[in-house]
Symmetry: C2
Subunit: 354 residues, 2 copies
């Protein structure tokens, strides 16, 4: 039976785990807060699921637990944050707050980040900007290269995501958070575990033929967004987002990217970019939200294809999941529970319980 | 036989046409310069091909030939430009130059645009920013709604494009310019003209089944980027880019979008956004270009799938086309020649010749 855990208990558990490996209390609470939010929003691969991995990296010395987060460069429309190899969540929280603060003065602020680490789901940071009334944009260089250039065989790119949040008035906030591949690598792993064949169009083999056997995923290539017909577009997106989040900030990109699944101790020098846009700089911010509401309302009310029950906007379902899980708790499937129990035993902290 | 016209003659012809319908000489030259660049880069649907359409709109009073381009709002990191319903090319040229100038001072500058018009291919403006040493980002709201929300039937969105240019040192400049659908509507029109079936995955019919008969395109729906497997991603991109380029600037978006193919006289209130990012604000700009070069070099040198002759980066082929057409001239297929001759006759200007 699947255990269901209240968000507050999940936060405690995550914070306990990080304190046990030496993270300062305040930082452990902040990271736990963001990771539990990931679980609440349904980004299951980015919440408590990551505790064993992060703990392993911290114990291997791969993450700096006492980072000196600093603004390395600054102008009115931008800043460059050096994360000093701290936990990505702390670095991105710092960068997002800085972007919002600067945007209040300058209208728009772009904050680049280097020397960071994996920071969980992109939606967290654009939502943070949107909660402060801003439009938020986020790009990053992913922490493992799963993507080849279009027509190529070498895994030189990550599935670099893009996220955008747009505040609304009465309609659900618009929050896009997408990898630039057809399917995320994590999703393919769940198919492999379940022994299910993948749909054609997710991966190709090294001859360029569709690959549907998820267990052979490591022999194949993810198709960039656009698939067989237009994958050069997803390739192009992954590339330019990576250049902006990586090369611009002197963070890792291309061959320099460390596969953080296979390597626990090397500094990843993860790059991100967060942009905050203050609608008040462009006009009346309430009128702006009203215009967004009108578009969202029209889309949600659209006539539908046969068999489609609902037309949604990006972010709508994750908000619903957040409400449901906040009320009923976060499900922890038995294999995850077993992994977390093992970590809890090793760290001498209380195991998760209902 | 296809006529081939030197770029300089193409520019003259375009400027002649616009002068003949009352556009001031300087403006006619500027628009002609940008439209001929579109042809040189191979964006054939956005160059001289558009002269008859633009001339029709100008004669119908749909475009203001004496616009007062002005900065309606400004802060260090942003500006909002009001195009006063001028030609989109002039408005976007003004906005891009402003973004570059502001970015030199503020590091990054985001310029929103309202009250503009169709401005040709996105690549023109991000290349303009990159020629000034900046990274350039561009979004806009397209000038006709060809896209439904994911699962929906109503054409509430345009194929809102995104373009990004990243300057390099020795490698070809990286220039992505893509619509957020699998196939652009213009491409489908060329299939219909040629009587060729479309690949499955470009469009669906109103029952949700693949549509491959290009002549029935008007009964179908474009699939957003991602196609049947992941089209919700392309839908999400088209939406957020439209909200940022449209709603944020109080420009048309959603139901308000005027179909400029069907309506020659209504003010389109086209919205764009151009962002200039000065690499010098982030560090040594030459080192930045060197890092980009390294990534581009690795991608272009990647081992290849069987049957693939070359791995390219976005923008590489359009640069080659530019060189080739600059040297040999721009091909004008006979049906286009006939249309342009007709317009030349009506306007009393010299027809295009070799």
């Amino acid at each position: 039976m699947t255990l269901t855990v209240p968000a507050e208990r999940l936060r405690q558990f995550i914070a306990d785990a990080f304190r046990a490996v030496g993270m300062p209390d305040t930082d452990a609470r902040l990271v736990a807060e963001l990771m539990a939010e990931a679980d609440l929003y349904g980004a299951d691969g980015h919440g408590v699921f990551r505790v064993p991995h992060y703990v392993r990296r911290i114990r291997a010395g791969g993450v700096n637990l006492k980072p000196n987060l600093r603004v390395a460069r600054e102008r009115p429309g931008m800043a460059l944050v050096d994360g000093d190899n701290g936990m990505g969540h702390l670095v991105m929280r710092f960068a997002t707050r800085l972007a919002v603060e600067k945007a209040r003065a300058s209208g728009v602020a772009w904050v680049g980040v280097r020397m960071s680490n994996h920071a969980g789901p992109a939606l967290l940071y654009v939502r943070m900007a949107a909660a402060a009334g801003m439009c938020g944009l986020y790009f990053c260089v992913g922490n493992a290269n799963h993507l080849a250039p279009w027509g190529g065989l070498e895994l030189l790119l990550s599935t670099n995501p893009i996220a955008v949040a747009i505040p609304t008035l009465d309609e659900p906030m618009v929050v896009l958070d997408m990898a630039t591949t057809v399917a995320a690598f994590g999703k393919i792993k769940t198919y492999a575990q379940a022994g299910k064949p993948m749909p054609a169009g997710w991966m190709i083999d090294r001859e360029g033929r569709p690959l549907t056997d998820a267990k052979r995923a490591n022999d194949g290539l993810l198709l960039p967004l656009g698939g067989m017909e237009a994958g050069y577009k997803g390739y192009g997106l992954a590339l330019v987002l990576g250049l902006l989040a990586g090369c611009l900030n002197d963070a890792a990109m291309g061959r320099d990217v460390i596969d953080f699944n296979a390597d626990d101790s090397s500094v990843t020098n993860t790059g991100h970019a967060i942009v905050a846009i203050d609608p008040a700089a462009f006009g009346d911010p309430t009128e702006f939200r009203r215009r967004v509401d009108r578009v969202v309302h029209d889309l949600r009310g659209s006539e539908r294809l046969p068999g489609v029950e609902r037309v949604t906007v990006p972010g709508e379902r994750s908000i619903e999941k957040h409400s449901a899980r906040y009320a009923a708790g976060v499900p922890i499937p038995p294999p995850l529970k077993a992994t977390l129990d093992k970590v809890a035993g090793e760290l001498g902290i209380a195991a998760l319980e209902a």
